[in-house]
C-alpha cells in the first residue's frame, strides 16, 4: 500500500513540469502525512537537487535516512543512502559516495533485494571508475552485471554497460568503450525502449568518435542523439547534445558554430537548474575564446564558471576555473592577477590531489614570474613544475615500474625456486644414490647372510643327511652283522631243538617245540627289523612286495584266496623305517590272525591314499567274532600300539558270522 501511495505521488510529480518540480516536491513532502511516502519523496528530492543544489540534496537525503530509520523503513533507508551517495559522487567526493553506496548495499543484501544490489554495484563501479581505480570498478561492475542479468533488470544492465564503456574510455581503449556503449544503446532501444538511455548511449558513442578525431561520425551520433532527445523532450539530453556538438565544432575549429551550440546548452542547463553542467560549460565557452585569442572574453566566461562552481561549492570545477582565470590573466599580461588565481589553482589542485592541474599551475606560475622578470621564482616554480611532471611521470611509470618490479621479483623468486628445486633435485638424486648404495649394501649383506645361512644350512643338512645316511648304513651293517651272526645261532638252536624232538619222538617235547617256535619267531622278527631299517626298502612298492611275499607264504598253503587292491597309491611314496616296520607288522599280524582263526576263504587287502594319508583295509569272509566282548590277545594290543606309534587311526570290526574288517589310516608326511 505504501509503495502504491508513493507511486501515486511520483505520477503526480512527473505530470508537472521540470521547472515546478522542486517546489512541488517541497510542498508534497510538507503535505504528505504518510512517513514511508515522505521518506521516498526525500530521496526523490535529493536526486533532483544533485546538480542544482548539492548541499540541499545531501540535507534531503539525510532527512530521508533519519525518517526511514525511525520508522524502520528499509526501502526508504536504501533509497536515501543511494541518493546521498549519488550527491557526493556528483560533487566528485568519491570516497563519501562509496561509503554511502556501501551502506545502501548492506541494506539491499539484508532485504535480499537483488535488483537493488545490482543497482548499487553499478553505482559503486561508477564511483571507482571516477576515482580511476579501474580494477575495483570492474569488480563491482562484474558483480552488478551478474545480478542484473540474473534478475533481468535491463535498465541496470544497460547502465552497467555504459559504465564499462566509461571505464574503457578512461583507459583510452576506445574500441572496447564503443563496444559497450553500443551494447547499452541496443538494450535501451530494445527491450527498454528508453529514449533517455538511447540518447545517452548515442552521445557517448559520439563522444568516442570525437575523441578518436572522427568529427563527422561524432557529429552524426550527436545529431542522432539530439533528434531523439528533442522528439522525447528530454531537456538534459538536448543540452548534452548541444555541448557535444560544441566540442566537435571546436575540434573542427568552427568556433562560432561551437559557441552557438554552447549557448543553447547553457540556456537549457540554467533552465533546468543544472548549475554544475552550466559551470562546466562556461569553461568550455571560455576555452573557445581562449583559442580565438580573445582572452578577455575567455576570462569573463571563466569567472562566470567560478561563480557558479562556488555557488554549488564544487571544488573541482572551481579549481579548473582558478587555473583558467590565471592563465587568461597571464595572457592579458595581468601578472599579479594571474599569480593570485594560479596560486588558488595550485592550492585547490593540491587539496584535490589533482597532479595534472597542479603541474599546469606551476607551469603557468613560472611563466608568469618570468614575464614579471622574477626569474628566481620563475625558476623555482619551473623546478616545481618539473618535479610534479616527473612525479606524475613517475606515478605513471610507477605502475609500470611496479609491474616490472613485481615481475622481476617474481622472476627472481622463480629463479630461486628453480635453483632450490634443482638443489632439491640434486639432493634427492644424491639421497637416492645414497639410498641405492645403502639398499645395495644392505641387500648384498642380507644376500651374503642368506647365502651364508643357506650354505651353512645346506652344509648342516647335507652333513646331517650324510651323517644320517652314515648312521643308517652303520645301523644297517650292525643289524646285518648281528642278524648274520645271531641268525646262524638261532638257526642252530632251531635245528637242534628239532633234532632233539626227532631223537625222542615219543617223549614230552613241548619245551623243545617252544624253543623251536621261539627261535623261529625271533629269526623272523630280526629279519623284519633288518628289512625295515634297510634304506633300500624305503618305498611303498617295496613294502607291498614284502607283504605279497608274506601273504603268499602264509595263505597259499592254506588255500586261502587273497587279493591286493591298490586304489591309486603312489608306489614311489617314501615311508620311513618306523612307518614301514609298523605298517608291515600290523599287516603281518592281521594275516596271521586271519590264517589262524578266521577260517576265511577269501581276503581282500585294499590300499588307498587320501590327502596326506595312507589307508590299509584287510577284510576277510571268515567266521568273525564279537569284537565288543572278546578281547584279543597280544596280537590286537600290538597292532594298537603300532598304530599309536604311527599316529594312525586303527579299527577292528567284527561280528560273529560276518567276517572281520581291519582298518588303518596313517598320516604320511
Amino acid at each position: 500500500m505504501k509503495y502504491l501511495l508513493a507511486g501515486l505521488f511520483f505520477f503526480q510529480l512527473y505530470s508537472v513540469g521540470f521547472a515546478q518540480k522542486y517546489d512541488s516536491l517541497q510542498t508534497l513532502i510538507q503535505q504528505t502525512k504518510t512517513d514511508t511516502a515522505k521518506a521516498i519523496l526525500y530521496s526523490v528530492l535529493a536526486d533532483e537537487l544533485t546538480k542544482s543544489n548539492p548541499q540541499k540534496s545531501i540535507e534531503a537525503a539525510k532527512e530521508g535516512i533519519k525518517l526511514s530509520l525511525k520508522i524502520g523503513f528499509d526501502r526508504g533507508v536504501f533509497e536515501n543512502y543511494f541518493s546521498l551517495a549519488s550527491s557526493f559522487q556528483g560533487q566528485a567526493q568519491f570516497d563519501s559516495a562509496i561509503h554511502y553506496f556501501h551502506k545502501a548495499r548492506i541494506i539491499a543484501i539484508e532485504t535480499t533485494d537483488v535488483s537493488a544490489q545490482a543497482k548499487v554495484y553499478s553505482a559503486l563501479g561508477h564511483s571507482f571508475m571516477r576515482k580511476f581505480t579501474m580494477d575495483s570498478a570492474r569488480y563491482y561492475l562484474d558483480k552488478g552485471l551478474e545480478l542484473a542479468q540474473q534478475t533481468k533488470n535491463f535498465r541496470v544492465e544497460a547502465g552497467i554497460y555504459n559504465n564499462y564503456g566509461n571505464v574503457y574510455l578512461e583507459e583510452s581503449n576506445y574500441q572496447q568503450a564503443l563496444d559497450y556503449f553500443i551494447r547499452a544503446a541496443k538494450l535501451y532501444e530494445n527491450p527498454l525502449a528508453d529514449a533517455y538511455g538511447q540518447c545517452l548511449a548515442l552521445s557517448n558513442i559520439g563522444n568516442i568518435e570525437y575523441r578518436l578525431g572522427n568529427s563527422n561520425k561524432a557529429l552524426n551520433y550527436a545529431q542522432q542523439s539530439m533528434t531523439i532527445a528533442k522528439r522525447e523532450s528530454l531537456t538534459p539530453q538536448i543540452g548534452y547534445a548541444h555541448k557535444l556538438l560544441g566540442r566537435i565544432y571546436r575540434q573542427q575549429k568552427k568556433y562560432d558554430s561551437a559557441l552557438l551550440e554552447y549557448e543553447q546548452a547553457q540556456k537549457l542547463y540554467l533552465q533546468l537548474g543544472d548549475i554544475r553542467s552550466a559551470a562546466e560549460l562556461l569553461q568550455n565557452v571560455g576555452n573557445i575564446y581562449f583559442d580565438k585569442e580573445q582572452h578577455a572574453s575567455a576570462l569573463l566566461n571563466y569567472k562566470k564558471s567560478l561563480d557558479l562552481a562556488r555557488k554549488i561549492s564544487n571544488k573541482s570545477i572551481s579549481a579548473f576555473a582558478y587555473s583558467a582565470i590565471g592563465q587568461a590573466n597571464y595572457m592579458l599580461k595581468k601578472n599579479n592577477e594571474a599569480l593570485l588565481y594560479l596560486d588558488s589553482a595550485r592550492m585547490a589542485a593540491k587539496a584535490l590531489g589533482n597532479a595534472y592541474l597542479l603541474m599546469d599551475a606551476y607551469q603557468a606560475i613560472s611563466a608568469t614570474y618570468e614575464a614579471k622578470g622574477d626569474f628566481k621564482k620563475a625558476l623555482s616554480n619551473s623546478q616545481l613544475y618539473v618535479l610534479v611532471k616527473d612525479s606524475l611521470a613517475q606515478a605513471e611509470n610507477r605502475t609500470l615500474m611496479e609491474e616490472t618490479q613485481a615481475r622481476y621479483e617474481l622472476e627472481k623468486k622463480q629463479t630461486q625456486i628453480d635453483l632450490l628445486q634443482k638443489d632439491n633435485e640434486l639432493k634427492i638424486v644424491e639421497a637416492r644414490r645414497q639410498r641405492a648404495i645403502q639398499i645395495g649394501t644392505f641387500t648384498a649383506l642380507v644376500l651374503i647372510l642368506v647365502i651364508g645361512l643357506l650354505l651353512i644350512n645346506r652344509y648342516r643338512t647335507t652333513a646331517r643327511a650324510k651323517r644320517l645316511a652314515e648312521i643308517e648304513a652303520v645301523r644297517n651293517d650292525i643289524a646285518r652283522d648281528l642278524h648274520d651272526d645271531i641268525g646262524s645261532t638261532l638257526s642252530t638252536i632251531n635245528i637242534i631243538s628239532k633234532l632233539a624232538i626227532h631223537e625222542n619222538p615219543s617223549g614230552n617235547n613241548l619245551q623243545l617245540s617252544r624253543i623251536a617256535e621261539q627261535s623261529s619267531k625271533t629269526m623272523e622278527s630280526m629279519s623284519d627289523i633288518v628289512w625295515s631299517i634297510n634304506p633300500i626298502n624305503d618305498t611303498f612298492a617295496k613294502v607291498l612286495v614284502k607283504m605279497k611275499v608274506f601273504a603268499a607264504e602264509i595263505l597259499e598253503p592254506l588255500n586261502m584266496q587273497y587279493r591286493f587292491v591298490d586304489e591309486g597309491v603312489d608306489e614311489r611314496m617314501i615311508l620311513n623305517a618306523k612307518q614301514r616296520k609298523n605298517l608291515f607288522l600290523i599287516f603281518k599280524e592281521s594275516i596271521n590272525n586271519a590264517a589262524k582263526y578266521s577260517g576265511a576263504t577269501e581276503l581282500l587287502i585294499t590300499f588307498s591314499q587320501p590327502a596326506k594319508m595312507l589307508t590299509m583295509q584287510i577284510t576277510d569272509n571268515g567266521v568273525g567274532f564279537d569284537s565288543d566282548k572278546e578281547t584279543a590277545g597280544n596280537g590286537l594290543r600290538n597292532m594298537n600300539a603300532r598304530a599309536n606309534d604311527l599316529n594312525a587311526k586303527f579299527s577292528l570290526k567284527s561280528e560273529p558270522g560276518s567276517g572281520t574288517v581291519i582298518f588303518l589310516e596313517m598320516p604320511i608326511t
Binding site: R480, H483, D484, G487, S488, T489, L490, S491, T492, N494, I495, I496, K498, L499, H502, A516, S520, M523, E524, S527, V530, W531, N534, I536, N537, L544, V545, K546, M547, K548, V549, A552, E553, E556
Partner: protein, 212 residues
C-alpha cells in the same frame, strides 16, 4: 642199494655249531649222505673235484674267501654240480652275484630246519625258487645291454616283472593262465641264462663287464 642211491652232500659253513647241526639234520634223512663238511672254501675246487658230490650247500659269508668266489672257482673248473647257497638275507647283492657266478639257488637260514630238503629237491630238479628281490635284481641286470648275449623271452620278462612285484608262483600262474610248473620252468630258464657266463671261459671278464 639204499646207500648207493643216497644223494651226496658237500657242506661249507664256517659256524661250527650250525655246520654240525645241518650235518646232523641231513643225516636224519636216509636219502642224503653228507660226504664232507668244511669250515672254509679255500680248497673248494679240489675238494669238489675229489669228492664229486651230488649237491653243494655253501654259506655265502665266510672268512678268508667267500661263497661267491668259491662258486666262481668251482664253475671255472667246469663242474656243473648244483650249488645251493645258504644265507641269512635274500635281499643282498651277494645272493644275486652268487647266482650269476653259477649258484643254482639259495636257502634262507631261518628256513633250514623246515625247507632244506625241499630246497635240495627243487635245485636237483632244476626248479630253484626265486624271491622278488632277486627277480628285481635279474631284471635290472638284464636290462643292461652290455654283455647280455641271451636275451630273455617276452614271457620270461613278464614273469620276472610279476615276480619282482611280489607275486607268488601261484599268482603268476593264474595271471598268465599257465600252471605253476610252467612258471617254475620259466624261472629255471632264467637261472640258466644267468649261469651262461659261469660256463664260458671268460667268466671273470664277463663278471667285470657286467659290474661296470
Amino acid at each position: 642199494m639204499f646207500f648207493q642211491m643216497a644223494i651226496t652232500v658237500l657242506l661249507y659253513e664256517d659256524n661250527t655249531m650250525l655246520r654240525e647241526s645241518i650235518s646232523s639234520m641231513i643225516r636224519l634223512d636216509p636219502r642224503f649222505l653228507v660226504s664232507a663238511a668244511f669250515e672254509n672254501v679255500l680248497h673248494a675246487e679240489n675238494q669238489v673235484a675229489e669228492i664229486n658230490p651230488d649237491i653243494i650247500l655253501m654259506d655265502i659269508d665266510m672268512p678268508g674267501r667267500n661263497g661267491i668266489e668259491a662258486v666262481t672257482r668251482i664253475r671255472a673248473t667246469g663242474s656243473t654240480t648244483p650249488i645251493l647257497m645258504l644265507t641269512v638275507f635274500d635281499d643282498t647283492q651277494h645272493v644275486f652275484d652268487a647266482l650269476r657266478a653259477g649258484a643254482s639257488g639259495y636257502l634262507l637260514k631261518k628256513h633250514l630246519s623246515s625247507k632244506l630238503f625241499e630246497a635240495i629237491d627243487e635245485v636237483l630238479t632244476g626248479g630253484a625258487p626265486m624271491s622278488p628281490t632277486i627277480a628285481f635284481m635279474v631284471i635290472a641286470a638284464l636290462q643292461k645291454p652290455v654283455a647280455n648275449p641271451y636275451q630273455l623271452t617276452p614271457r620270461e620278462n613278464e614273469i620276472l616283472a610279476s615276480l619282482a612285484k611280489g607275486n607268488s608262483y601261484k599268482l603268476i600262474a593264474a595271471e598268465f593262465f599257465v600252471t605253476v610248473d610252467t612258471v617254475r620252468a620259466h624261472i629255471k630258464k632264467i637261472y640258466e641264462k644267468l649261469h651262461v657266463h659261469s660256463q664260458t671261459e671268460a667268466v671273470s671278464k664277463a663278471i667285470k663287464e657286467r659290474l661296470v
